[in-house]
Subunit: 349 residues, 4 copies
């Protein structure tokens, strides 16, 4: 019975690693064989909470361990590429904390390596596995919201400053993965501005606009220096509008039957007849599941079935491409940057 | 005694006009002589609520009325210039609904005319007269907030679409006036994006970033197609941070003793020592005064004393210049647009 | 045309009187002839806001005025009986601010007088005319909520202390009228506790429980010494539950598809199988109408059609009877007090 | 080193037991030796999360284990007395989930037994160890709030129905312990009402008023059938007022500088001069500590030092006495029930 469990090795036991360990350990289809971290103090914590899991300061111990089928990486972003590549070369399936790697070139090389070896390479875009985002996708895809006018999101809190990436790689990355997951369209250009208030540190505040072929627009505000935590997304459509507030303990999603109705065409120069539709609000019940639990199970399922993960390396690549373009735009105070050829995202089967 | 009251004529009795009439009428230092509007139905409403105030469909009746000392204009934006100019030429002091005029050139010509005739020309930036904004200015100016890192604002609701101006001239105009009022610095460039979801109508959604010489940045999100009303401003400083939520019935301003503390300088490549200071929150008591009441009184005071209004035509000019630049940037998907020479705003006496 | 308007006289121009004057004046089917108050300063305010309405310090001027068809009374509670009686005897229809009178005996005598003279006697239970309460009544009456388990309400704020009545006559009176309006059942007993924190003043805080023949229970908390304004009512039913928050600017009513489901009967001693049903939440759109506008129109309609008002004197009598019983219970620290014979309230036609 | 850790046995691994195990296990001064539960399935869960902790279906194994210094009991209320008594007789210190026992007689006998054997008997009133309640106590005791006028609390949610106790023993018990902890005075009488909406189940909704010798009053509303979770406590004082909302993720405590000011004495019959003081609001920063972690450490400290616990058995006795009296009052629809002789609670050293 123990044999049939997928063996997991976790590299990195800092902020996010303990969550990965806990969820892979609690899952019924996986077990955590070993954890590595450079800090013995962190490994001691792991030992206290999970006495049955081995620890090591050398990640190569994990890569060489034949009981390990898959490796989960939760280390600083600048190490993702090397560690993921080494793990793939060691024949392990790989699960990497977001973002997949700091450059799209590196991501492409990782994808190549994984494809060549027929290994699963999945990026940890946890939000896609929340009941809230899954509900929003369902509503958008079944047409309940109508044509999507905009996605407008604020994601801010006090900290955590990371020294090797700026705030868009830490926070906007979530919105980029959600946008890709719920919309049927890919952005064609990006304009972004950002600023830095701690000398020598990366940008701690940024605002990104994504342009689409259609009139749809996406905007994302991220901030590491906000006095309060805000996680608020507005999605406007021709039929309904959604307010998604992830800080709300319940009623995270509210769907408003509000919008505009146009009375015929434009009339005289200054007389556009616009009416407002103000109807009911509805907050669907959401299951109280931990997203990471759903996600690690999905990873293990993909290992077994060969299914392409929702947060596939390909989708992770798009996210990194957008963040790269946004970073370029930030350097030029908002000058728009084109993105690769726009095309419809194929529906997942 | 009646003689000493300043006589007011109000041109335009649509959305905002009734508020002007009510406040000038209730003020102890002014009386409303006459109201004009093109619509007899609207004038009938005025007559029912204020039987003692004369009405006319021809604004020239007001300009020719010697009992009228000052004219308040609350008509569509594209008529502001002509009406204000005519009123100044008729020797009346002028109070104009925001924005002062659709172009900065027009504003400059109005200022010239007013200066030449020694008349007061004031723009109705109502928010500057709210107890909330006055408190924020006081806190910023006395140094309680420290160095200002950012001003980040969201101003959205469902409607009202205007056919002759886009959403930034209707909503962002408020933030531009507030930014100018509370900061000691003028923006040097602007990057803005906007989009339109109603064919043939002006932009209904926009995002504006203002750059300053210092590391301060301002960002304003405005939206006419939001399912809920949002009026939220975050002001981050080196000492304290403010959350100003104008939708809150009480506790509109919350001041957080939160921030970051830097431990020495940058250390190793990936080890910036940033700590967080998480202290108390404080919500100062604000008087429950209607801002427009304070503002009309200020206008009348300026008439009598010759004092320069807080929302002077000069400050209104800056606002229009920024909105013009933002409009240009929107047309080019966020390309940054320089603003006129940056200089310290002189303190008001 | 003017002749067909119902002529109104308003007695009392303190806190509530100005609202009555404004609403009767703005209504298309009534006009305010005259206002009386003992204070010349208050009458001056009326004169300023409504130059066309006559004023007098002697309410008898109103009673003798043949242009006055109906009298609205907004004076301290202890004067209601005498003024209403005098108005009825002068042949006027009468609209009295809540509560109708300080004792049920007085209310009964007023009802007698009105019935004898075939005049309308209506009590101003404004909340019954709010879109929120009307929606709740509709939901309860159509069975959407199921069997009503409880009505639990909190109504508190800072002030206003009244010297001639305690807090239950000022605040709980609203809940008593709402309970009567939305439930099909009358309470059979009441237990109440109250306390006074200002020496010499009436009770400023009270808690009332109403018992019904069924398992339904109603509880009302009222407080004049609360730091924040709370207006929250929970209505629990077998099918759905309502949260009614009158302080919310929008979404005043939220309907939760939540409840309990019982798995068969009681099993073993300590094993009651109770499950929870946690479904969607729904906030119906409510019209943005001022309740008092609806109510004064209803009063005038009743005058013309002879229809019994929703807030009839009979319903006002029930409210006073309950408050009397609650006052007795307060004096005895919660000892339950029986109410008159319980019977089904007949449905309004 | 391991020897110096206090050995803990936990009896009951249902709803609360896992929290006790986790906290005693994570504490640096204790270790969990063994867990017992009647359900092998629950023990399997314990084994999975804590492989190093022994499990047994027979609690007597724990009582006979000499490595066990203290026993924590988290079983249904009706078993508390027998289990605690057996544990004390086995020479173990005892930590019991609230309430200590279903009757005050039983609590008294447990206290006797503990005193005779010089063992610590502590009740798990977790709320006393929250940063919020500790801050409130500090504010009250240092006089910042002034004379306490009232404590008014609402504690409701959907579930969890317990079959062996009614809602006041499950929820009001928290408020009773808090009231005792923060006030300097003991209640002298109680009036309570309650109702049951599930046939055969205990009361699921109740309202309790506590009377004090002074004008202070306490009121507690508890409900197992509320669509939303409410944890709101209002504390009114002569100098300041507190709103404590435990559902708030941050800013759980808000202190309002609001109140009343009296202008001299009572004047004429109907003219009490009451003014309102409306000042700032202040939300002190609270540490983000898990209360149960603080509490289990306090328990172990008391074992070692002989100090009387904050939530001593004596204080637990007072709570049970009040709940017993409230239960009697509920049976008689609010009839007030006297409590034992009132006396000042001695300050904790």
């Amino acid at each position: 019975m123990q044999n049939s469990l997928v063996g997991i090795g976790v590299i990195g036991y800092g902020y996010w690693g303990p969550n990965l360990v806990r969820n892979f350990a609690n899952s019924e289809c996986s077990r955590v064989v070993s954890v590595s971290d450079l800090s013995p103090a962190k490994l001691a914590t792991s030992k206290r909470l999970h006495p049955e899991i081995e620890t090591t300061t050398d990640f190569r111990d994990i890569l060489q361990d034949h009981r390990v089928d898959a490796v989960a990486i939760a280390t600083p972003v600048h190490t993702h590429y090397e560690l993921a590549l080494a793990a793939l070369r060691a024949g392990k399936h790989v699960f990497v904390e977001k973002p997949l790697a700091p450059t799209s070139d590196q991501v492409r090389r990782l994808i190549e390596e994984a494809d060549k070896r027929n290994l699963v390479l999945m990026v940890d875009h946890t939000f896609l596995y929340t009941p809230a985002v899954q509900k929003i996708r369902e509503l958008v895809h079944e047409g309940a919201i109508g044509e999507i006018y905009y996605y407008d999101s604020i994601r801010s809190s006090l900290g955590l400053f990371q020294s090797d990436v700026n705030v868009i790689w830490d926070l906007a990355v979530h919105d980029m993965s959600i946008i890709q997951y719920i919309l049927n369209e890919e952005p064609v250009a990006v304009s972004a501005t950002g600023s830095c208030h701690v000398s020598g540190a990366p940008e701690n505040m940024a605002h990104i606009t994504l342009f689409f072929q259609s009139s749809c627009v996406a905007h994302v505000s991220v901030n590491w220096l906000s006095p309060i935590k805000v996680r608020q997304t507005f999605i406007g459509g021709s039929r309904k509008m959604i307010v998604y507030d992830d800080v709300e303990p319940t009623e995270k999603i509210k769907i408003y039957d509000k919008g505009i109705t146009l009375d015929g065409s434009l009339e005289k120069a200054h007389q556009l007849r616009i009416g407002y539709r103000a109807g009911d609000m509805w907050a669907p019940h959401l299951a109280a599941k931990e997203a990471l639990q759903t996600e690690v199970k999905h990873f293990v399922d993909c290992l077994r079935t060969g299914e392409t993960p929702i947060s596939s390396a390909q989708s992770g690549l798009k996210v990194v491409e957008i963040l790269e373009a946004a970073s370029r735009s930030i350097k030029e105070q908002g000058r728009p940057v084109r993105l690769g050829q726009s095309h419809k995202i194929p529906e997942r089967a």
